[in-house]
Symmetry: C2
Subunit: 467 residues, 2 copies
């Protein structure tokens, strides 16, 4: 499941719980999860506040990056280590407790709970399970692994939520499963689109808002403008492994520094760890960088990234080819997707050598196909009838206006698993077919005996006599 | 299949075939099908012409309702009875011949060709096959029928297109199947939404533009304004069985006239047949009526309709409850959908009596739930981020700008049917499981014999001795 607590690197869910509110202004309860995911969610909440809705954000007392600057009520609650389990489905439990329509805001949902909660088919033959890092064109071996992963999800995933579900069952005074909580989601706002992700079956209540984090690049701070101006015709490379990585093992950092020194571009490396001793003159360490604005600069030649979805979308929006070093979570998946679409090169950060990084950088900078591919993806991605932020706000308000979206709830929710898969119908049809075949066979056999039985026997008798 | 020739009552497809055209203006080849379906398609073509695209409409010489007033090139071709078969996939054949990206504009696609062409799953347990008139909550018997219908489609549908495919194979100089033609569709513009139709799995290249035919009601011609003013507090009922029905058997027409005479509302009946002798004073026969504008009038109490999708959408847009007399094609499906959503009453036109119609009319007019339900559906239907016409134009231009939409083409197209259904993987996993089970069993049996074998034999020997 996605709601994995605020320190988790796994795809994360943020739930909006909505009370009624006729047309213009309503009340919203926002239960966010922390981490970089909040950055995009925050833009939706800010816009909803601007549009006059009364927003209450509920968050644990422990350090959250959110809330302070928001013009809304912020309620905190104290949490202990064990209560973090509750965090995982806290939004959803509150929704069920108060029977509130809910909107889930997520990059993706771990395990099989999106498929189950939305009743969305995901054929295992070409829809790779998340975290496997497979493309949509899987080898036989990969397809076998995909099936085994799916089996594992069904066998093991519920263990992650055991504590959360026990608490939920206690609160709701009835046994609660993950399905009970997820299946009441009115609208799924998914930070995905079919430029980054592979096309696959979807459901009408899934709204794709991938790229919601992309903004028009602002003008750069003086310091960064100066770096770019000094880079000359070769331009710059932007390097960031995201806010989760602060330090890299010394040996690895030195191998990276060595590779960076071998390209003519200036490298802006967001790194807060110890300065590698072999750092070349073309590499500038910074504690923070305006990533989106730098990627939007025409002199930016490449982006070295951990392939988190935010960074990948910023790269797509701005048309910058990538060298990707996925570390955990959905980053392997993001990197695989971009690699198969020819928009970047993926490196295994544990196994890569200095030469690997150097070659990858030179490839994405000098081989024009990478730039062409990311520019093509960029133009596809940005060509949409509604901006993702407006779409997200529209659907949150839609759920408020109509107290949910029951007309988008598929009837599959009312079937048992064997009915859904038509096992009862198939069994019945097979039984009929077998009965018909059996009766036909018996009739034919009887007819045959009637017609040829005597003859046969006579022949036999005749034969035995001749012996 | 939907492209069923211009006189067919079956759901119909209209294909746009697009040549390149960078940003602003491009060239479009439009291959429309006739009938009322053209009315909505026409609005898209008109908007595309207004936006500066060069449009060529290709149509057979025989009477088409279209084209004359359009500001574009119209090419006609002569057609014979046998060539009508070609009509069925003519768009698609041209698209394949010239390798042009195509957009299909349709209410729905007959048989299994939408699922196959778009690789869209349609679980038979809750997605009723079209023309059956089932809801999404099917009984066991209905689900069995749904499966049999699906089998029949696979066995029989290709016969309808035998001639068309033979001609296509000749033109393209290679054997051609329906799948070959349909699977190259870039975008499916489907005149459907989830207010009329039931929610079900969809694919990212399916764009739902249901209600594209609804317009803001214009002011009424004097004649109709006068009828409404004369109707007093009871208001009016609009009655039309569409443009395909001109005459009704006399007995049936009299039964209908009898029922209409028993309600206090004024009935405006679009009817070109012989005037029933028992027509009551409250019933006015007209050869034509401004249907959408009448339905938009606040004094309109009910709509008697054949449940064609255009009429149903106009009823939804304007919030007018219906008495539905479906005649053929998707009309049974439309009626069933509206009936299960509480927005109208369905009558079997062949079996209904005068009382049935009278009761149905009184129910939808006097039982407030019908009005409430259709108003709820209306507000859901009209609450959308983009108007259907704009969405249709956007996606046609998208296909022109990007020369198709290959990023929305699922990898399922590259799999064989047994790979898609993972039969090879399931077979392999079963073989592994059985082998493991067999070896485990053999090992256990061997171990058992080793440990207890002698004892057993001694016991046996001992036992046999005692006999």
């Amino acid at each position: 499941m996605a709601c994995t607590g605020w320190t988790s690197p796994l795809p994360l869910c943020v739930c909006l719980l909505l009370t009624c509110g006729f047309a213009e202004a309503g009340k919203l309860l926002v239960v966010p999860m922390d981490g970089s995911h909040w950055f995009t969610m925050r833009s939706v909440v800010e816009k909803l506040i601007l549009r006059g809705h009364e927003v209450v954000v509920v968050m644990p007392e422990v350090s959250w990056r959110l809330g302070r600057s928001l013009n809304c009520t912020v309620k905190t609650y104290s949490t202990s280590y064990t209560l973090e389990d509750l965090d995982r489905e806290f939004g959803l439990i509150v929704a069920k407790y108060f029977s509130l329509p809910s909107v889930v805001f997520a990059r993706g949902i771990l395990c099989h709970y999106l498929e189950e909660g939305a009743q969305c088919p995901a054929p295992l033959s070409y829809v790779p399970r998340i975290l496997l890092g497979f493309s949509d064109a899987m080898t036989f071996k990969e397809r076998v692994r995909n099936h085994i992963m799916h089996l594992e999800e069904h066998l093991l995933c519920h263990r992650f939520f055991k504590n959360a579900l026990e608490i939920a069952s206690e609160v709701l005074q009835t046994p609660v499963t993950e399905y009970d909580l997820y299946s009441h989601t009115s609208i799924w706002l998914l930070r995905s689109d079919f430029v980054l992700d592979y096309p696959r079956p979807v459901m009408p209540n899934m709204i794709f808002i991938g790229g919601i984090n992309c903004h028009q690049g602002k003008s750069l701070p003086m310091e960064f403008e100066a770096y770019i101006n000094a880079s000359g015709e070769h331009g710059i490379v932007v390097f960031s492994l995201g806010s989760m990585v602060s330090e890299i093992p010394e040996k690895k950092a030195m191998a990276i520094a060595d590779a960076l020194g071998k390209i003519p571009q200036t490298v802006l490396w967001r790194y807060t760890g110890t300065r590698p001793s072999n750092l070349a003159n073309n590499t500038i360490l910074v504690k923070w960088l305006p990533q989106n604005d730098l990627l939007g600069h025409p002199m930016t030649r490449a982006f070295i990234t951990h392939a988190g979805s935010h960074g990948v979308y910023e790269s797509i929006c701005n048309g910058v080819p990538m060298v990707m070093m996925p570390l955990f979570g959905d980053q392997m998946d993001n990197a695989k997707r971009m690699e198969t679409k020819g928009a970047g090169v993926t490196l295994n950060v544990l196994e890569m050598t200095s030469e690997d990084l150097e070659n990858a950088l030179k490839a994405v900078i000098n081989d024009k196909s990478y730039k062409e591919n990311i520019m093509r993806l960029s133009s596809l991605h940005k060509d949409r009838p509604v901006e993702p932020l407006d779409l997200a706000v529209f659907w949150v308000e839609f759920v408020m206006r109509h107290k949910g979206a029951p007309h988008l709830r598929p009837a599959a929710h009312d079937l048992t698993w064997y009915q859904y898969h038509s096992l009862d119908v198939i069994g019945f049809l097979l039984a009929v077919a077998l009965t018909v075949a059996f009766i036909t066979f018996k009739c034919c056999a009887y007819g045959y005996r009637k017609c040829f039985g005597k003859k046969g026997r006579v022949k036999k008798a005749h034969k035995s006599k001749t012996h």
